[in-house]
């Protein structure tokens, strides 16, 4: 169980020496309780206190890194069950699977799909994370050949090696073990062999078990054998996965079963796209999937971006005067807030009208129109400042501005304060087309 700040405080020296960087032991205790500080920062802790604190302030889900270099990715280190409680921190790695029974040409084709998949949204590049190679041929030589095809020219691409035969896995690791691939294949019967491979190469290990009890016991055995970087294999149908990953996340957050405090691995090769989406929203940290169609891949990457967006920090647009189409001096000026959802929705509807116009984005600290009006973040002075700052009058002939329907209570004050004529637009961006047709002929 996680300790509360006061329980932690009792274990501290209470010297208020400030050497940890905090003004008092109590504030340091509060940070420890929230997982925002490490016990090691205190030079005066006795061994027993260190042990207790180390175990209880460690993240409930171990942090694990796959791969090396700029494309490597880190997962785990999560603290909540619902993203709205705080946020989900480390988005799952998505890796395309190849089999060592496939031709080298096919494997190269999948590599180029992974390499060329970039989707750019709201200024952020969304990428697939690597390649998973599965030993289906039963031959070490073939497995090694497939791995070599991937690694030669792509040593930076994170890998998952999938083989349940320790000898085959060992042959594969001999080729790429230095790149810290994730290794998957350890189960009830071959734990020792896989642990020694994981230790030899320092590679993270995916552990499975015939049921959750066995899985937790297997992980504990691995810990005893000196392996620290692990993931839990919860692969199954979409329904099985949701049920077990929900249970594992709850158990991990409660810290009630030490063997389950690890990130979750999902092999979605049989469930495909819907398995991938399920994994993204329900706690998977590494997902292996057969190559998808380009549209499925885009939807999945965008879903991952959405779910791992920090709910406490709405994505904001930079305030300014934006062009939709190629507006001229007589085209209308629409005003809206810098909440990205509002902006993108409105922009989408405006573009679909095929009528060029100006879009003036004012700074409401990322609030939507309704909340910004209620909180006073959208006001006549905010509008006036924006009109002046972005020199809107230099771009258009008519000093007229169209405000969102929800901002209609401000229309009079905006007119008085700015001297611009105000037209109240629709509340719903979906009605912008008919509004333009009816009001702006």
């Amino acid at each position: 169980m996680a300790l509360k700040a006061l329980d932690i405080y009792k274990l501290l020296p209470k010297k208020n020496c400030k050497e940890c960087g905090d003004p008092t032991c109590l504030t340091f205790a509060m940070k420890l309780a929230q997982g925002k500080a490490e016990p090691d920062l205190c030079p005066y802790l006795d061994e027993e206190a260190k042990n207790i604190l180390g175990a209880s302030t460690r993240p409930p889900i171990q942090k694990v890194t796959v791969g090396m270099g700029t494309l490597s990715f880190t997962v785990g280190d999560e603290f909540v069950f619902y993203r709205h409680e705080k946020t989900f921190y480390h988005q799952p790695g998505i890796l395309y699977a190849v089999s060592d029974t496939e031709s080298d040409d096919r494997i190269r084709e999948v590599i180029s799909q992974v390499r060329g998949c970039k989707v750019t949204r709201i200024g952020i590049d969304l990428l697939l994370n690597g390649i998973a190679i599965s030993a289906d041929s039963g031959s070490s030589e073939r497995f090694v050949a497939a791995i070599s095809t991937v690694v030669s020219g792509n040593p930076d691409l994170p890998l998952v090696l999938m083989a349940s035969e320790p000898a085959i896995m060992e042959a594969g690791l001999a080729v790429c073990g230095n790149y810290l691939p994730l290794i998957r294949g350890a189960g009830d019967k071959n734990i020792e062999e896989f642990c020694s491979l994981a230790k030899k190469y320092g590679a993270p290990l995916v552990v499975s078990g015939s049921d959750l009890q066995r899985l937790a016991a297997n992980v504990t055995r691995c810990t005893g054998l000196g392996v620290t970087q692990m993931m839990l294999d919860l692969s199954g149908t979409e329904g099985e996965f949701v049920r077990t990953s929900t249970l594992v996340r709850q158990t991990a957050l409660a810290r009630s079963v030490p063997g389950l405090g690890y990130p979750v691995f999902l092999d979605a090769r049989t469930t495909g796209f819907s398995g991938l989406i399920t994994g993204i929203v329900k706690f998977a940290s590494v997902i292996v999937v057969n190559p998808l169609s380009r549209t499925e891949m885009q939807a999945a990457l965008v879903m991952r971006q959405n779910i791992y967006t920090d709910p406490q920090k709405p994505i904001q647009m930079t305030p300014g005067l934006y062009r939709v189409g190629t507006p001229g001096r007589d085209d209308p000026v629409f005003l809206t807030v810098n909440f990205s959802l509002t902006y993108f929705t409105l922009q989408g509807y405006l573009e679909s009208t095929r009528r060029s116009c100006w879009l003036l984005i004012v700074d409401t600290e990322g609030m939507s129109v309704l909340t910004a009006v209620a909180a006073g973040k959208l006001s006549e002075s905010v509008v006036k400042d924006a009109i002046e700052k972005f020199a809107v009058a230099d771009e258009v002939n008519n000093k007229t501005i169209i405000i969102p329907g929800y901002a209609s209570p401000l229309s009079g004050r905006i007119e008085e304060y700015t001297g611009w004529k105000v037209i109240v637009g629709p509340r719903d961006a979906a009605e912008i087309a008919s509004f333009i047709e009816e009001e702006l002929k």
Binding site: Q213, G236, G239, V242, R243, Q347, E351, S352
Partner: protein, 309 residues
């Protein structure tokens, strides 16, 4: 050491009945009792979400990608409904009366006729999406309600600023209401209270927390749905209604309008959004692209398969 799931919930989602069979006084071949879940989606004994397919009576305002996928049916709503029923095999049909969105709309008689024609063309339960303008709501919802009397329709959409007409039609003719609020738990709750005060029984309300498009704020919808479900299971009776998700905004985003493979894109994005919404707690999923149905059906069947680890 036993690892077992301890939900710790104290309440369940209220049940709502949609559609009426002959035995129940209507003409539908099936009726659905949705809701009743006492746990998170997919966990415990919850029912599978229903998949609704949405059609409209005036395709001019319908997404291009759907128009081009349903070309032979788009101008004939009864034939379209029949196709959705027998070929696409949706669980229910949502009829969107887009004709009422035309300026100066006053063809109220046609509203009743359209609803009657769709009821004749399919024996699936119906959701009717009426007008979106307070000035014509009263007349439109009255005609819809009357034409579907005894069929236990679902009428939409009630919003905080305009809910009285739809509520009145639901009360008068025994239908349920979709209560839509702009992606906000408190506003959803407030609207449910308003509807109750207007006389709509709690077991005839379905929450639509509004589905932001994938990539354009879907995460707000996702979390709002989770929070509504969480509040309901913890005992907040004002939020214990089943939820509906209609990712129709997803079909109008830039990626789909401009895409070369826009049918594939539409299906991928609609399916992804619907699967995630189902996992957040939606019990009715509304799609518009015919290609989405098979994929979504397969995913939902697999998710709600009763086998337990």
């Amino acid at each position: 050491m036993m690892i077992s799931y301890t939900p710790g919930w104290t309440a369940s989602i209220r049940e709502v009945v949609i559609g009426a069979t002959a035995a129940e006084g209507g003409t539908r071949r099936i009726s659905y009792r949705i809701g009743g879940e006492s746990d998170l989606p997919c966990i415990g004994q919850g029912k599978k979400p229903l998949i609704a397919f949405e059609i409209c009576d005036d395709p001019a305002l319908w997404p291009d990608v759907v128009r081009s996928a349903c070309t032979k049916l788009i101008d004939n709503p009864p034939a379209w409904a029949s196709y959705v029923d027998t070929t696409l095999q949706a669980d229910l049909i949502r009829l969107n009366l887009t004709s009422t969105r035309r300026r100066n709309f006053d063809a109220y008689d046609s509203v009743g006729k359209t609803v009657t024609a769709i009821l004749a063309a399919t024996s699936l339960p119906l959701i009717i999406e009426g007008s979106a303008d307070a000035e014509i709501d009263s007349e439109v919802f009255q005609r819809c309600g009357e034409a579907g009397e005894k069929e236990r329709l679902v009428l939409g959409t009630a919003e905080a600023a305009r809910y009285r007409s739809v509520a009145a039609a639901a009360i008068a003719y025994g239908h349920s209401v979709i209560a839509q609020s702009p992606i906000d738990v408190n506003l959803a709750k407030q609207l449910n209270i308003l509807l109750r005060e207007a006389g709509v029984p709690d077991d005839r309300v379905i929450i639509d927390p509004y589905t932001g498009a994938l990539g354009y704020g879907f995460e707000y919808t996702y979390s709002t749905m989770e929070r509504i479900r969480f509040a309901a299971l913890k005992g907040d009776a004002d939020l214990a209604m089943p939820m509906i998700c209609a990712p129709s905004d997803t079909l109008t985003i830039k990626e789909i309008r401009g895409a070369v493979h826009n049918h594939e894109t539409a299906v991928s994005w609609e399916v992804a959004t619907s699967v995630a919404a189902a996992l957040a707690g939606a019990t009715i999923l509304v799609v518009r692209h015919p290609g989405s149905l098979t994929q979504l059906r397969k995913a939902i069947d697999s998710l709600w398969n009763p086998e337990v680890f």
